[in-house]
Structure formats: structure tokens, C-alpha cells
Amino acid sequence: MRASFVFGEVATGLRRNVTMTVAMILTTAISLGLLGSGLLVVRTIDRMQQDYYQRVETVVYLSADLSANDTGCTSSTCSALRGQLESTPGVQSVIFESRQAAFARFQRIFQGQPELLQLARPEALPASLRVQLSDPARFPSIAKAFTGKPGVDRVTDQGEYLRQLFRALNGLRNATFVIALIQALAALLLISNTIQLSAFTRRTEVGVMRLTGASRWYTQLPFLLEAVVAGVVGAVLAVVGLVVGKVAFVDRVLAGVFEAAIVPRLGYGDIFSVAPILLLVGAAVAALTGYLTLRLYVRT
């Protein structure tokens, strides 16, 4: 196979159908750009989830008796509780906070409000076992298992409102994916159409090739490569679009949100880690679409 010949054919084909080529590349770019945005949203949500859940604790407050007498979780009741918690699946870490430590933290938090500090005494604060869960969804079963155990006052969770937030965000993530998928389908059909058109505009060439005994690959490789070029160029444009979108839109509109660390900042690293995926998806989907189109619609 002579590469120069095949590439010459690809270039001619792309040039001859310049408007179609541009349309195919742009649609591919838009679809891949959306796919990329979808992936970035997914990443952001995942990272937010990690961030937030890392900050959220399940707290097992200990009884007044333990709070008063156990300063290092050395009593058999406390250490048994801690042991049970640590061996519960889904528990990442358990930290004991004594009444004194709780009071110190209270003082730190409210250091700006001396009147509050004056009212407070350590005796008012319970000691606690602060539990970090690897999977926040496990909270209900832990609450059920530990509420009412000897030495336990009550079990609380700061995560309930977050769970609701993320249920909503996950819905958003899924919707983004669905849109990206629908867009991908649109790009796919357009590529298929363009190849059919390209095969039609070059039917004389293809006819001559067939009758002179060119192999199937020789006849069809130019079409396949045209599709792949469109996929790859589309992906590159999509990445450029994502960068532009980040600089011109995301960074400006969400500046405050990033500042407050409510949403993790979107970095160039994120975009460039999505880029290879887009390139691969673009090239592979284009090639596959091209191959199937040729099989189904173009005679050999």
C-alpha cells in the first residue's frame, strides 16, 4: 500500500467536500466538547463529594458518666465502643474527643464571643467518638446499631443535608451524561452521512478502483481516514473550546464560588486529563462509524 497515494486521496476528499467537512468537524467538535464538559462536571461533582464527606463526621456522643470520668477512652465501655466502631464496615477512622478537648475546641470556635465563653463550662459538653465514614450512606445502619448501647448518649450525623444536595447533583450529572450521549449520537449520524456523501461524490473514483482491482482497504481507507481526521480535529477543537470556556466563562462567572471553596476550582490539568479521552473517543467512534457505513452502504 502506498501511503502517499492514500493520504493524497484523503486530502482531496476533504478539500472537495469542504463545506461538509467543516460541518462534520464542527458537529463532532461540539459533541465532543459537550462530552468533555460532562466529564468535567462529573469530576467536579465527584471531587466536591469527596471534599464534603471528608469534612462530615458521624458523632457518637458518650454518656454523662463516661464524659466525666474517662479522659482517654481507657474505660472498658469506651474502648469496647471504639473497637466495635472501628470494626464496623464503612468506618474509616474513629477519634476520641474528651470533654476537655471538646471544651478547647468550643473555646477556639467561639473565641470571638467572650460572653458565650464565660457561660460555658466543660461539664456542659459531652465526650465523643468522632467517626469518619468511607461511605456516608452507611450512617443510618451505624446510628441504629449504636443508639442505646451502654455508654452512648446519642448518635448524630451532619451529613443529612449534604446527602440531599448530592442527590440533586448526581441527578444533574446523569442528565449531563445523557445530553452528551444524545449529542454523540448526532455526531455519529453526521459522520455516517458525510461518508456516504463523500462516497457518492467520489463514486467514479470508487467505481474505477473497484474495476481495476484495488483491494477493499485501498478503496475504503481514504474514507475511513477522512472520518478519523474529522474525529481527531473535532477533538482538538473541543479541547480548545473547553479551555476557552474555562477562561471566558467558568472562571469569571464562578469566581466567587471558587473563592469560597464551595466548588473546587477547575484547572487546566482537569481539561488536559480529559483531552486524551476526547481524542480517543473521537477517533475511535469516527473510525467505527466509517467502517460500518462503508460495510452497509458502499458496494465493493
Binding site: E205, G207, V208, G213
Partner: protein, 229 residues
């Protein structure tokens, strides 16, 4: 070289078979006309030889190939050894004469060195050496058909099939094309030509195979187009 053995071909969309129990032998190096009224099956005959169609019954042989039973991936090998030209030339409008002829070799992966050597040779054979850089739309019909013949012949096929190659040309030009086809035939290439052209068939006095409604009704060694026409 070409052998049809009790070959029938029915197209799915038509009720009458396009070819009906046809048995014909064409020897290596022969020149034969395939004649008959419109719709008698001449083009179908040629398309079977190129494996553009498969026979409904019977066997088609070209050289050592059983064409109807050739596996897909070996079809290119057959077509590389069987050249063909048509009434409508089928040149690539955006390539020069040289490029059109070279195209046939490029697409079967011939080395560039070979192409540079044999393309001018074949253009000289068809009498177009002075017009190698013209585009097809700068050539007369007869010249365009010469390019098509050069392209079909440049890879030195065993067989040259021609489907009404003079159908679009006036009588004088047609005669020139026949001279060219004879020249090609003299190199040892078997030539099979489907035609309606009485004058040509009568003047050449070559073998004539006449089809009517898909059946062979006449096969003469040195025939004319037909009595009483």
C-alpha cells in the same frame, strides 16, 4: 480464456432471465463481438466476467478463476487481470490524462518507478503521447475513449472487455477505436466487445456471438451483424 458453461442469470426484480442457459468459449488471444438487440443480455454477460454479478446457475471461468465462486477477497486479483471500458469512458474529471492512467496502477499498489515507465508507453500505444497533460474535458470523445482504453490496458490484462465502446462516437472515430482494439488484441490480449454497431462488425469480420432474449442464437467465426438488417 473465457468460458461460460450453461450460465443463467435472473435479476431479482425481473421476470425474464437476462441470460438463459448460455454456453460460450473464447480462446486466448481471440477477438469476439457480442451482439444482439437492446436488453438481450450483452452487458449482463460482461458483468458476470467481472464478477459484478454472480450467475444464478452454471459456471463462469476467466483464465484459471471460477469467477462466480471466487471468494470476496480474491475478486481484486481477477479484476487486475481483466480490463474493461464502457460507452461513457468513466474518466476522473479532475485528473490529467497521465494521472487517469496512473490511477489504475496506483490503486493496486504498483511502485512509482514502474508507473513512471509504463504510463508513457501505453499513452504512446493509444496515440495520445502529445496530450498527456490535458484534462478530460479538453479532449474529444474519441480521445477520451483512448484514455479509458489506455487505463484498462496499462496493467497488461489477459482479457479486455468493452461494452459498446463506440456507442458515443461517430463512425470515423469508431473505426480508429477499432484499430486500437485490434492493436491491443495483437499483443495477445483476448478482446470481447459488446456492440450495436453494424458497420464495425461487418467491416471487421471477426467472431460474432449473437444474443437474443438471453440466449445464444448465433455463433460464427467470421460473422457479420445480421442478414436483412
Amino acid at each position: 480464456m473465457i468460458r461460460l458453461h450453461h450460465v443463467s442469470k435472473s435479476y431479482r426484480t425481473s421476470t425474464r432471465p437476462a441470460l438463459d442457459d448460455v454456453t460460450v468459449d473464447v480462446e486466448k488471444g481471440e477477438f469476439a463481438f457480442l451482439i444482439g438487440p437492446s436488453g438481450s443480455g450483452k452487458s449482463t454477460f460482461l458483468r458476470l466476467l467481472l464478477r459484478e454479478e454472480v450467475p444464478t446457475a452454471g459456471d463462469v471461468y476467466v483464465a484459471e478463476w471460477n469467477v462466480g465462486k471466487l471468494p470476496q477477497r480474491r475478486i481484486p486479483q481477477l479484476r487486475q487481470r481483466v480490463g474493461c471500458v464502457f460507452q461513457d469512458f468513466r474518466l476522473l474529471p479532475n485528473k490529467t490524462v497521465t494521472e487517469n492512467v496512473a490511477f489504475a496502477l496506483e490503486v493496486i499498489g504498483k511502485p512509482r518507478r514502474t508507473i513512471r515507465k509504463v504510463v508513457p508507453e501505453v499513452l504512446e500505444l493509444v496515440g495520445l503521447e502529445g496530450k498527456s497533460d490535458r484534462m478530460p474535458n479538453e479532449l474529444s470523445g474519441g480521445e477520451q475513449q483512448r484514455v479509458a482504453i489506455a487505463r484498462a490496458f496499462v496493467n497488461r490484462p489477459l482479457v479486455l472487455l468493452a461494452d459498446e465502446p463506440t456507442g458515443n462516437l461517430d463512425p470515423d472515430i469508431s473505426q480508429e477505436i477499432m484499430v486500437l482494439l485490434e492493436r491491443i488484441n495483437r499483443t495477445g490480449t483476448t478482446v470481447l466487445m459488446a456492440t450495436h454497431d453494424h458497420a464495425i462488425v461487418d467491416s471487421m469480420r471477426r467472431r460474432v456471438v449473437e444474443l437474443n432474449l438471453g440466449q445464444v442464437v448465433r455463433d460464427e467465426a467470421r460473422g457479420v451483424y445480421g442478414v436483412g438488417r
